[in-house]
Symmetry: C2
């Protein structure tokens, strides 16, 4: 009478597929509660798994977060390149003939269709301001990279370019939060388009 053989309602998935599911579920939960509010139990439940079963795939909670962010980054850069109809490695080169304004429009358009993902980043971006947060370094690098890439597409001198890039990022982030808080009465694409008008006129 060791253990009842009643079990095995749960599916046994190949590692890659299970991992995909885990990341998907975690993405949703982090968007709702942040990393500090996330529990491994909830993730496991969402995958119809036990907690040790989950840990078998991801090791630790911190690792799980890193996996989610890396996956997002990969998907994001790929779909952005697709949307702009440009090879992945050429999106951020000025000579590809793509303007800063076009890139921003593409970004906003896609974000408007995936509020959950936008919220994930909004929440983690704020949470990770604290030095001890497991995604602190990630978001620090990310901000630096984003600014550098956008600046490379902007006109003007070194200083002016980075200033514009910063303003563009700030405006997008800020409008996104307003939109997430009240999606019914705010249209993200419209808001951005009218803001872009102000930011980009006068080159």
């Amino acid at each position: 009478m060791k253990t009842q053989p009643i079990r095995r309602e749960r599916a046994r998935l190949p590692a890659a597929e299970r991992r995909r599911q885990i990341i998907e579920v975690t993405t949703r939960l982090v968007a709702e509660r942040g990393f500090w509010g996330l529990s491994m139990q909830d993730v496991a439940d969402g995958c119809v798994l036990t907690v040790p079963g989950l840990l078998h795939h991801v090791g630790t909670k911190d690792n799980l977060l890193v996996a989610v962010l890396e996956h997002r980054d990969e998907v994001d850069t790929r779909t952005l390149a697709e949307e702009l109809a440009v090879p992945v490695d050429r999106v951020w080169t000025p000579d590809a003939g793509i303007t800063l304004r076009q890139v921003c429009r593409a970004l906003v358009r896609r974000n408007a269709g995936q509020p959950e993902i936008v919220r994930l980043f909004a929440v983690l971006e704020a949470e990770s301001l604290a030095p001890g947060h497991p995604a602190h370094g990630y978001f620090q690098d990310r901000q630096r990279n984003t600014l550098k890439m956008l600046a490379s597409l902007a006109p003007g001198g070194e200083v002016a370019r980075f200033r514009l890039a910063g303003q563009v990022v700030a405006m997008m982030d800020g409008l996104q939060i307003q939109w997430l808080r009240d999606p019914a009465s705010i249209d993200l694409v419209d808001s951005w388009e009218s803001a872009a008008e102000r930011l980009f006129t006068g080159l």
Copy 2:
């Protein structure tokens, strides 16, 4: 032999003073970890109190957060009026002769001097996007009010005014996050001033 009378290293404070201390400590901790990451134990430790001692003053964790936010709002509106040298109830009336740009400048100037508080709001603003968050309603109201007040100071028609107000708020929030992530290389006041130049030229 009931209980040793060794205790009473801890101070016994009048309720108002203890409450002040609790709110101050909580403000710092929420800024670092968010509400989901906050523990009553940590707050109690920060006040040199036991957890039940803390609960005697605030009742529940949710109450504590509300207390912090209400306190911040009170202090904020008061000091803003002071800074603009205008009676508290007249800051948001267009005929007081104060422009939108002046109000924004005053806001940014003060925020530049209290990064902890700015972070508190940045973190809670993102966390509270989730409907179940105890500050969800608070931040929804706050966004509505802020937009209405700023819009009342903006020029132009109904629609244009709210659009500008939204852009101004978005830009301030966004720049603040960039600044918090890298205070060494970003000056908040400068960043805002150059952004304001873009936002406000052309009325």
